[in-house]
Amino acid sequence: MSQFFENVGRRVLDSVAGIGFALAMFVSAIIGKPQPRKSWPLFIKQMYVVGVLSMVIIIVSGLFIGMVLGLQGYTILVDYGAEQSLGPMVALSLLRELGPVVTGLLFAGRAGSALTAEIGLMKATEQLSSLEMMAVDPLRRVIAPRFWAGLISMPLLALMFSAVGIYGGYLVGSGWLGVDEGAFWSVMQSAVDWRDDLLNGVIKSIVFAFVVTWIALYKGYRAVPTSAGISAATTSTVVTASLAVLGLDFILTAIMFGG
């Protein structure tokens, strides 16, 4: 029995220490005098790796999810003769929920796992140590540009996801199922509020971007530098980040739309 409590206690202490470390890592990576001449190219490169390379999966998924929403929404709404509400249904579910959440999940799987694996491998091959010995702070050199790239590119990806999704819903709803084109857009326009829906969706995606990127970087930086350790860290990134996105989504939704 005491063994059990000891284990629980150690777990708790470990996770508190982990949070503390992550926070310290955050502070020392972000704070410090900026060196635009050196950091800008690094940032651009990471924007490419993290953002541009995730674009295809985001756009394709967005299109399909929008089309499915259009199809499903239509079959439900047509029973009530309310198929002209298809526009707001597609737009609201994408902007408020699916855009940020699905982008967050896909981003965790596509970019988050890659970030963890890359940093874990840099650690295993002593590249991080070697940076440190060359008097270059790995937090600023390796972590910071990846963090900013993740933080900026994910909201952009979420916007693309929603836009493509709405277009997909429009294609199916209006082009295929015959919902009036004008009604589709006009009803959507009157139902979607830029502050309540668009802005809240963007805020959500920024929060998810922060959490997912940070978890990925932290897991990579703390990975046990062996092949098993890196694979465990990568898995753990995807699992933790996905759960964090879903959990936070509930909390944010409750705060934004619940009260």
Binding site: K38, M122, T125, E126, Q127, S129, S130, E132, M133, M134, A135, V136, D137
Partner: protein
């Protein structure tokens, strides 16, 4: 003679496992110092302690007169610009070409224009015989070439101290010979101080001015290569001659084998 590195009574533990109990050694300026010992005694840890990546639990570590564990971050980074380390794996940045790898410390720490950086990089690559490989990526290099490229990077900023972590491990005899020669000639031509951590006794003793043997959490023997060869302490003899058994046990645990085997029936 001035001492570049001085370790006094250093205690260090990895978690619960003590690695050093009162380790002391000194590295005079301009010499090649060898640190030898069986695997698993934390020779890499020793270099990380000197480089300030790890902090000792007790004891003093001085590099160029500065107490490393007590330095502020900025001072430590200043100090690190004067030393460099050659990692066992080379630790080249895999996303850059050989040229960019060698240019990296110059671009980070100096404001030199690109054409001067180019000349310096080519000079350093020439010194390790890899000028022709400058456009290759690290993944295209053989193990020996990667280590030489890493060496070129390590000397890019003309450090005062260079630490080699197992420079000979896993090398074929020819590239081993090349690296031995390189360490020796760099030491003489650039006037730098070298610490070579290795368990390849023959090679390391051929270039070392002075050597330490570490075992059992402290220095068990030291001297010039000749003195060590004539040393008749059991442990040093065992290590230099590579005997399987002796004071350093072949078996990890000291339990009696028969009792361990019969243990299940107790």
């Amino acid at each position: 003679m001035t001492q570049l590195v001085e370790l006094k009574d250093v205690h260090f533990a990895h978690g619960d496992r003590p690695l050093y109990n009162g380790l002391s050694l000194t590295v005079p300026k301009g010499k090649v110092i060898a640190v030898m010992g069986p695997s698993g005694i934390g020779k890499t840890t020793l270099l990380k302690l000197i480089g300030g990546q790890l902090k000792p639990n007790k004891g003093s570590i001085k590099v160029a007169g500065e107490e490393v564990p007590k330095l502020s971050r900025d001072k430590l980074y200043e100090l690190r610009k004067r030393m460099s380390m050659l990692f066992q794996s080379g630790a080249l940045f895999t996303d850059m070409s050989v040229f960019d790898n060698v240019a990296f410390p110059l671009r980070e720490h100096t404001e030199l224009p690109e054409n001067i950086i180019r000349s310096v990089v080519l000079m350093k690559l020439e010194a390790v015989g890899l000028r022709g490989a400058r456009d290759l990526m690290p993944s295209e290099l053989s193990g020996g070439m990667a280590r030489r490229a890493a060496l070129a990077r390590a000397i890019a900023l003309d450090p005062e101290l260079i630490m080699y972590d197992e420079p000979f491990a896993g090398q074929d005899p020819i590239s081993m010979g090349v690296i031995v020669k390189l360490i020796k000639s760099l030491n003489q031509s650039l006037g730098l101080t070298s610490i070579v951590v290795s368990h390849d006794v023959k090679e390391v003793l051929s270039i070392a001015d002075y050597a330490y043997v570490i075992a059992d959490k402290k220095v068990v023997g030291e001297g010039t290569p000749d003195e060590l060869r004539n040393n008749d302490t059991d442990i040093i003899k065992q290590f230099l001659q590579g005997n399987a058994d002796g004071p350093v046990a072949f078996h990890y645990s000291n339990d009696d084998f028969t009792t361990d085997l019969l243990g299940g029936e107790k």
